[in-house]
């Protein structure tokens, strides 16, 4: 088993090695960016902005490197499923955490408000007072 795996791994040509190196470097860069954003941003919503995009992109890039390395074998397909799963679940989890934070009453930054309803014909009937106030400001 081990000898066969070593023989399969020794067939990684220069193009495949270069692709693995490139995807690993790109993924490490995005992991660094996401971690700096998580440590430095001032608010839970801003931190989520950093982690749910940059860190997910970094981990997906590294999993794509595993896909490139293992592709004729079944493990490459499993790494591809990992990429797909990360892209599906990371926005869902971030959305649920941000909803929970907003319901817990974690405050926004100064000057940041919840996005208002666009004062179109349909939204006008939904909340009449807000739309009237917005029109009065204009």
């Amino acid at each position: 088993m081990t000898a066969a795996e070593t023989a399969a791994a020794a067939t990684a040509g220069p193009v495949r090695a270069a692709l693995v190196i490139l995807l690993t470097v790109v993924g490490s860069f995005f992991l660094v960016v996401g971690t700096i954003g998580l440590l430095r941003f001032p608010n839970v919503y801003n931190r989520m902005h950093a982690t749910s995009k940059a860190t997910t992109l970094g981990a997906a890039s590294i999993a794509l490197a595993a896909t490139v390395y293992y592709l004729p074998h079944g493990d490459g397909l499993m790494a591809l499923v990992t990429v797909l799963f990360l892209f599906l679940t990371a926005p869902t989890g971030a959305h649920m955490i941000s909803q929970a934070a907003q319901r817990m009453g974690v405050p926004f930054l100064d000057g940041v408000t919840w996005p208002k309803q666009v004062a179109s014909g349909d939204a006008d009937t939904a909340d009449g007072t807000d739309a009237d106030a917005a029109n009065g400001d204009d």
């Binding site: 992991l31 490459g76 990992t82």
Partner: protein
């Protein structure tokens, strides 16, 4: 046996990425410990989960053992389920009603 030069380069880059991801995971734990609110800690734990997914994938390439790709996939699933569970617990006060 004599390895080609690009395989040695790939080993070096993979090990550097492995060490970098491990150090970043250690840095993220600062936000878990000192996070001002509960959602900060949940976001940081989710980030740790994503980093460990990356570490497992890197280790699968570096050690040439493809089983760790499955470890990576299962860790992604468990991280998603735990994040959803904590968000529901914070919001609803209960997980399964």
């Amino acid at each position: 046996m004599a390895e080609p030069a690009y395989l040695a380069w790939m080993d070096t880059v993979l090990f550097a990425g492995l060490a970098l991801a491990a150090g970043l995971t250690l840095l993220v734990s600062y936000r878990v410990i000192r996070g001002p609110t509960v959602p900060d800690r949940v976001v940081a734990l989710d980030t740790i989960g994503t980093n460990v997914v990356a570490i497992a994938a890197l280790y699968a390439i570096w050690s040439q053992q493809g089983y760790f790709v499955g470890v990576s996939l299962v860790l992604a699933i468990i991280g998603f389920i735990s994040t959803i569970t904590v968000a529901r617990y914070v919001t609803e006060g209960d997980i399964i009603e």
